[in-house]
């Protein structure tokens, strides 16, 4: 008796849970649905489906230009952040005591700053160092934003590298630099892949920094935002759905890759 009650309870709990989880993704699902609806009105009922909004979006030169800008900014800023962030992490790991704690806190401050505050400060900074608004300024901003993430991800893994690994390499005749390249870097690979993906996503999805540091070449989020000033349209839904798909795929592929690497270890 007690058991069947428990069973019903557990079943109900799971059903509720499914409903609730559905609620979390429902908005996204509705948005994707509306991008296929053959009407400008973004509500129910749906009377017919069409791919026209996607066709229109992909034929729009402004959108294609924004995609190119977004990809360029993301690739360059991630690459710089990867090198600088890894180097900073390795340097931080070598520090001791108070110096380490201070360096760590300083590294965390840009992380904790709200997006819009960070954007304002970067804009003032760009102005003060004479960097004009536009793609280079956006890259600067995205890099500065991504470095702490890269560093923290590298640091997290670096702290799991047994000291004996690099010691063994040196014991077997490797110089410190050889040991770093042959042992430490391969060990960091999952972090580096994860950090790259995260950096790309961070840059592609960024609104605040791209908005306040951008010139006349908008990134995709900025373009979407500008188009929204005339109201949400199915075409925006189509762009948004594509961006979402790309983002999720990157996340998914990244997760799979990391899991595969993890399984080999």
């Amino acid at each position: 008796m007690t058991r069947s009650f428990a069973w019903v309870g557990s079943w109900l709990l799971q059903a509720y849970y499914m409903l609730f989880v559905a609620f979390l993704v429902l908005p996204i699902f509705v948005m994707i649905l509306m991008s296929f609806k053959n009407s400008e009105f973004l509500g129910f009922p749906i009377k017919g489906l069409t791919l026209d909004w996607y066709g229109a979006a992909l034929a729009d030169p402004a959108i294609l230009g924004a995609v190119a800008t977004t990809a360029f900014v993301a690739a360059v800023s991630t690459l710089i952040a990867l090198v600088v962030g890894t180097w900073a992490a390795v340097a931080l790991e070598r520090l001791q005591g108070l110096a380490k704690a201070v360096a760590f806190v300083i590294l965390c401050i840009p992380l904790a700053a709200p997006g819009i505050i960070s954007a304002i400060s970067l804009r003032i900074f760009a102005f003060d160092i004479g960097l004009e608004l536009g793609v280079p300024a956006i890259i600067m901003a995205h890099t500065v934003h991504a470095v702490p993430f890269v560093s923290l991800m590298v640091l997290a893994r670096l702290s799991h590298l047994p000291k004996s690994q690099t010691e063994a390499a040196k014991d077997l005749g490797a110089s410190p630099i050889t040991a770093f390249c042959l042992i430490t870097l391969p060990f960091l690979k999952p972090s580096l892949i994860g950090a790259s993906l995260f950096g790309l996503l961070l840059s592609m999805d960024d609104f605040n920094r791209s908005f306040f540091l951008g010139g006349f070449e908008p990134t995709l989020p900025i373009l979407v935002f500008e188009r929204m000033s005339t109201g949400i349209s199915p075409q925006i839904n189509a762009i948004a759905s594509i961006v979402l798909l790309v983002t999720l795929s990157m996340g998914f592929v990244g997760e799979r890759t990391l899991r595969r690497i993890g399984a080999r270890k």
Partner: protein, 356 residues
Amino acid sequence: MTDICVLRDITARYGDVTVIDRLNLAIPEGAFVTLLGPSGCGKSTTLRMIGGFETPAAGQVLLAGKDVTHVAPNHRDTNLVFQDYALFPHMTVAENIAFGLKRKGAPRDVIRQRVDELMQLVRLPDMAQRLPAMLSGGQRQRVALARALARDPALLLLDEPLGALDAKLREEMQHELKSLQRATGKAFVFVTHDQEEALTMSDVVVVMNKGRIEQQGAPVELYRDPQSRFVASFIGKSNFFEGRLQEASAGIGRVEVAGGTLSARLGSAPLKAGDAVVVAVRPEKVALATERPQGNAIEARLQSLSYKGAKSTALFADAFGRRIEMDFNPEERRIEAGDSSVWLGWQDADGIVLAA
């Protein structure tokens, strides 16, 4: 026999804490030397100073006659088998073993031949292309050994390499390590906190405590003639009777303890009448009698009995709160639990008088 490695007046500190205090040690060529001691005694630090991973605050490390105190590990002719093996997880077994040879710039076919040879030696053929994660604990251990032997070091260092293995595999690897050492003819310096392991494998055991060497010698010497209370309790078990030395003559000391007088061999440290001493007696040397025996005798009551198969252990307590352990063969003698007191005794030569 010359010494392949000599430590001269080595001192090591971590911050303000002195972990090794003016230690002198010589490793003879071709010997299996074990550094034995409780955790924190400085045995691993000593090993790491030989390998070049720690630099002594004072003193010298000599390797094959040359001062290598400040030489980095990659320029030292020693190799270390790490406690966690430290196999490189992204390299195959063959790549792991070849690592040290590649750093030397050896030609490809020389490397391949040497790797094959080493994999035969540690009995791991057909594993060349596996990653370390696919190996069992014992196999990893063997790869670590092969990798450390690959550069043909003057001295092989082993930092508790058997700690992670289960009891059965551990015993097997003890035999293998010993025969590997004989086969290569190299000096091995082995670190462990397990006294049985040390006795089983070593030519020389160096017992360390609090950064100093307590005693060194062959296993039989250490077990039969411990020269300090620490060694007598750390290697095997001992019953201790605290007292004061009354007189010492002809190698036998008479010690006044609570409730009587005991006689035992004198240890090698100089002791004089009136010194505070302990008499140490191994549990397997204690004999039981219902009447007071001649010579050493302690009256006690049985506390508990534990059967261990090939032997049994009886725990007694006497009127002065001392606990006395006795090991006996359960096939030869039965002890029944009971309330009456009994007498425990032993030969003079089976006890040893040590400084308290």
